[in-house]
Symmetry: C2
Subunit: 324 residues, 2 copies
């Protein structure tokens, strides 16, 4: 494999000139440039990135830490990050931790080691006090709301997501709105529940404890929820459901009983999963790919010396279909 010296010899110029041509510098006489280009062609020359990296002190590689890859949130996040990296000619090292703290720490060393120019933390379990030290390792962006404030974060605004749903129902005249959640104790669950009941109070909506369900995760759970809902003489006119799967189950059972959607019961799901599209379910979508893109863009700007905001919130979006 040829190197810059051979090119220089063959083109009868100095290595410096070759380097200039390679880096598209101005101020190289046309003939010399062409001569170099010819030599490059003839010798089938390819630059050695390790040498360039060493010389320039950077690698044009970003890393992203995720516990696993085959998980819809993370694979979408990586997709977004990858896209944005592509735009700026960065490569992406995918660092899979399985939530193993040792691995995570090893990955952060890559910043110091100059393996990567910057790191995006998809999710990490390194405790806050330790992670603060890490911030000196290099440029870091976190995608977790709960992350240390030591480095810039970008995350989805779950609170406003529920507001979006309730506001939409309210605007359609609904005053009796039920709620169906997944795990009420998870971070997202707590936020959602709190957010919903705040709105309930604020808007002075009618409420009935029979309209609340949690620990519902599957289509089948949805079917059972629908039964309970319909067998109760006092019904809400709409239900906010924390998952499209569950909403699909509710929708299925409700329709099976000949009750019309949205006229008799309106339904709003979460996540815009494929099934929501099929069932024409109105839902709230989290822009995960965009989350990745924004994170990578911020990192790019950070690495290239631009100032960036400490926190970036992404809004969720209402996908209007036919269940409301």
């Amino acid at each position: 494999m040829s190197n810059i010296t051979e090119i220089a010899k063959r083109a009868k110029v100095s290595r410096t000139t070759v380097s200039r041509v390679l880096n598209n510098h101005p101020y190289v006489k046309k003939e010399k440039r062409e001569s170099v280009l010819r030599a490059i062609e003839e010798l089938n020359y390819v630059p050695n990135m390790s040498a360039i990296n060493l010389s320039k002190g950077k690698t044009n590689v970003f890393g992203v830490i995720v516990p696993q890859i085959n998980h819809s949130f993370f694979s979408n996040l990586i997709e977004g990050i990858g896209k944005e990296c592509n735009k700026h000619n960065y490569s992406l090292l995918v660092l899979q931790s399985n939530y193993d703290i040792k691995k995570e720490l090893k990955y952060f060393d890559m910043l110091k080691n100059k393996v990567i120019d910057g790191m995006i933390v998809g999710s990490s379990i390194i405790p806050t006090n330790k992670i603060n030290d890490l911030s000196s390792s290099g440029k870091i962006i976190s995608c977790e709301y709960s992350a240390s404030e030591k480095f810039p974060r970008v995350f989805v605004d779950h609170e406003s997501g529920f507001k979006l749903a309730v506001d939409h129902l309210k605007s359609k005249g609904h005053q009796k709105i039920g709620l169906c959640l997944g795990n009420p104790k998870s971070g997202v669950g707590i936020t959602r529940k709190k957010s919903f009941f705040n709105l309930l109070r604020e808007y002075q909506l009618t409420w009935n404890n029979d309209w609340y369900f949690d620990e519902r995760y599957t289509i089948y759970d949805g079917i059972k929820v629908a039964s309970k809902l319909l067998d109760n003489p006092v019904r809400p006119t709409a239900v906010v459901v924390g998952s499209d799967q569950v909403a699909a189950g509710i929708l299925y059972e409700v329709k099976r009983r000949g009750i019309r959607i949205p006229e008799d019961l309106a339904l709003i799901g979460f996540d815009d999963q494929p099934i929501a599209k099929v069932l024409d379910l109105t839902t709230i979508n989290q822009p995960i790919i965009e989350l990745g893109e924004v994170a990578a863009n911020l990192l790019y700007r950070l690495v290239n010396g631009e100032g960036i905001h400490a926190d970036t919130k992404l809004e969720l979006e209402l996908v209007e279909r036919k269940s409301v």
Copy 2:
């Protein structure tokens, strides 16, 4: 950031000795070793990988080319590759091509550029004649059956997978079987198509060109396929579908129209995705994570000079549920 020279000075030894300590060479006097270790500690020294890479002529990084990441096949593949890389202390560069041939070629340059020590091709659309040239670029493993024989391949035995599906249908008495594929020009697509039509001939099954569909990827596509299928007076009694997503769409629409599954139409999907479980869809499962692991393992051995078999086949398995 300190370097090896500073360590050497502080520890009052030569840079070579420092390097030896760093690389765990034997034959370093205990005191010197400790002295070096102390200096490293005190100066907070971290090796610079670019320099090591340049010097050693390798990077301990593998690359994997995939069209996209947020796709169950590829995210599982990457998951498997990542796991195996972790074992051998390799990092993984995820190269997203969107099936853009220029990008793919650029990625292959990374081999020559010494950015990566080896490449795993998840899927690629570079034509065979061109890809043959590539084989001189470096160590390559392909996960596509259709790939050039110039480099070792590891793949799921799609041929036998389709045989599994068709045999199963045939054993249930089906003689009119339709086919619905994704990208018919991808490696997998070509193989599947060929395999299917070979079986068709071999088993002398009835065939009708209206029973063939391709470029179908989503649930939504599935719904449209179902419409076409049902609106046609001449129907197959079963359909082999290259993706559970699409099969789910078909199943949904078929049921919506009051047609029974499997009595009126049998359906067999591919990939055993979660939705297949929910819908009780009979499907063919591919060991994709294992595929990734095997590919990475082969590449590792290839890069480290071990001889490996040219081709490795992984068997698929039939997951029997209620759609056949």
